[in-house]
Amino acid sequence: MTIREIAQILGASVHTAEEELLDKDIETAFGSDMMSDVLAFADEGSVLLSGLLNPQVIRTAHMLDMPCIVFVRGKKATPEILALAEESRIVVLETPIRLYSACGRLYTAGLDSR
């Protein structure tokens, strides 16, 4: 599933400086507000769904080579966070949908976890 498709499914707004990153294919997803658990349990290269908003969410994703973060529950990324994401070449999506439902929609559309 491409990042573009993920954005469509979640009705998400898209933040990236590199349009071509949206065609990147993603095979797995991980949802959590705890970065400790993301670091311990998420598969590399997954899309990260989170309701936590701070710079460490971007760094955590960067360490795991995650190409895309979805901020759920209407969380709006700050300019600082967007700049850090851009530097790390991570696409930021924002959706009003809550974590459980956002994961459910992606799962139903065929995005699994390993």
Binding site: M34, D37, A40, P55, Q56, H62, E80
Partner: protein
Amino acid sequence: MEEEALHFHFDVDGNNFASAGEASVQVKRLLRQMGFSPDTIRRISIAMYEGEINMVIHAHGGDADVYVYPDKIRVVLSDTGPGIKDVSLAMQEGYSTAPDNIRSLGFGAGMGLPNMKRYSDKLEVRSTVGVGTVIEMEFISA
């Protein structure tokens, strides 16, 4: 005879949660430039980042030193924080002394040290209460 190593030093600022992880980001970039495999780079990045975060949230910051050898990478994280009373307890999954304000920042599940052990090929923790902690990790590069 000691093999020749490239040495990189980073100060880890203990008063700035937002900047925590900057050293790990730089190391990731350096290792990529040096051509290490994505898998090796990811293992090192994750383990070093866990250690860097620990220094910031538990020990008011510290020093990070990375030594790059032709076939391995050594990461040494040293701080002059409160130290760890019972290292084998701290190594257990789920053990954490992190307060609620740290948990609201997304950390403090007690998964960091076990994760560092999992991703490194060798992990040594030397800690003295009231003096500080030194964590040494070794990674064999693929």
